[in-house]
Amino acid sequence: MIAGKLFIVLISAALVNNVILSRFLGLCPFLGISKSIKTAAGMGGAVVFVITIASVVCSTIYMTLLEPRGLTYLNTIVFILVIACLVQVVEMVMKKMMHSLYEALGIYLPLITTNCAVLGIALENVQEANPGMNRILYSVVNGVGASLGFCISIILMAGIRERIQFNDITKSFKGMPIVLVTASLMAIAFCGFSGLI
């Protein structure tokens, strides 16, 4: 029963309410670092890593510190600081303990601190009034789902952009406009997933 619920949360976060294409969170890296599949995959990996950890930590702090003391209105300030520190800590730990992973994801980590997807997902996790299960479990699954959604769309986008480079495009649409049109078409395609749930 709980597994079914978790699966629905996962699919809903990854495909139906795609974090970029239907909610516009984390749009800057989506447009900025999607020039090649390799860098897009690196960024995607780093985002999955950070969002998952941030979801757990922020929900735990919310459950144990803020809610019992009636300080829930402080969640924006607390979360942004926690995320900023967390990214630094993750970077340091990775550098020391998992050097190969650091080599692969390291340069993308500092870029994530102010990625609105991380703060957005952390806030969304605690704003959901009745998740129907343990809130921390819900946060983990929602975080993983949303960041996988980010990964899927940034890698797809990078693949399309690699092809677009060789196409003959009207002069005024060269560069950013054609990328935005592509993103728009991808968003239309992702609207199709809304029938899934």
Binding site: S22, C116, C191
Partner: protein, 281 residues
């Protein structure tokens, strides 16, 4: 006085955060489903921008350089919480329409960009004026985008029925859904390119104008000082590599030239020797 007017209009027109600098794209795309939402989001951002600029302007010189980024984050987050609570209390309909995007003003790069590049270097009053100008520029821009989307997507303008009065009219509802936002901004930047209007998308220096780099659409994740150093380092590395490659190519060319010259000289010597031989004969 002139200085204040200049700063004010700089934000509204010359360096309009949305149209020219392309800053803060997330709220620009997400909340502009109607013109009213655009105004609400714009004014909330303006309030935060003014207050944060004012306080950072007052505190500049007091905050040590090393801890300025966390301090700015706390200051901005505090004002965002204030605006969030005020909206929740007095304009609940707008509060529920904007939802999660109000707390996300914290990570809007316009605010951090202005704090870092303007308020930390200028006095409180000038910073306040800059915040007002930038905020109103942002408000105007996202209201216009919201109006376009609302007009085509729902046939209304500021909630008043316009196109719906035409019999048999069906609104293009894609415009108020997510794809419409991307499409409208795409057409807008294409128009700017066509008319050669200044925008971060068609001026190479657009990216270097602000401390955070400006140009959100091309930004590698809101680039703060931390990763600005990284990016600068990388650019320097690329430049150095290019210079090295150029040098190597030049050396190679010089060597080839020299070899050719030597060959020619050798040829000449040989020819001379032959000539000498012929003479001897």
């Amino acid at each position: 006085m002139n200085k204040y007017f200049k700063t004010f209009f700089n934000g509204i027109i010359t360096e309009n955060p949305t149209f020219v600098l392309m800053l803060g794209m997330c709220p620009t795309l997400a909340v502009t489903t109607s013109a009213i939402n655009g105004i609400g989001m714009g004014l909330s951002t303006t309030a935060v921008l003014m207050l944060a600029n004012l306080l950072i302007g007052i505190l500049h010189g007091i905050i040590p350089d090393k801890v300025r980024i966390p301090s700015y984050i706390v200051i901005i987050a505090t004002f965002v919480t204030v605006v969030d609570l005020v909206l929740q209390a007095f304009v609940p309909s707008l509060y529920s329409a904007l939802g999660i995007y109000i707390p996300l003003i914290v990570v809007n790069c316009i605010i951090f960009g202005r704090a870092e590049s303007f308020a930390s270097k200028n006095g409180p009053l000038l910073s306040l004026v800059d915040g007002l100008g930038m905020g109103l520029g942002f408000t105007g821009a996202i209201t216009i985008i919201g109006l376009v989307r609302e007009f085509f997507g729902a046939g209304t303008a500021f909630g008043i029925d316009v196109l719906g009065r035409i019999p048999g009219f069906t609104p293009i509802s894609t415009f108020i859904m997510a794809p419409g936002a991307l499409f409208v901004v795409a057409i807008l930047t294409a128009l700017q390119n066509k008319l050669k209007a200044p925008s971060a998308t068609n001026t190479p220096e657009g990216e270097a104008r602000m401390a955070c780099g400006g140009n959100c659409a091309n930004c590698a994740g809101a680039a703060f000082v931390h990763n600005k150093e990284l990016i600068d380092k990388r650019n320097a590395q690329i430049e150095a590599e290019k210079a090295a490659a150029k040098k190597a190519a030049a050396e190679k060319a010089a060597a080839a030239k020299m070899a050719a010259a030597e060959k020619a000289a050798a040829g000449a010597v040989k020819a001379a020797a032959n000539a000498g031989g012929e003479v001897k004969k």
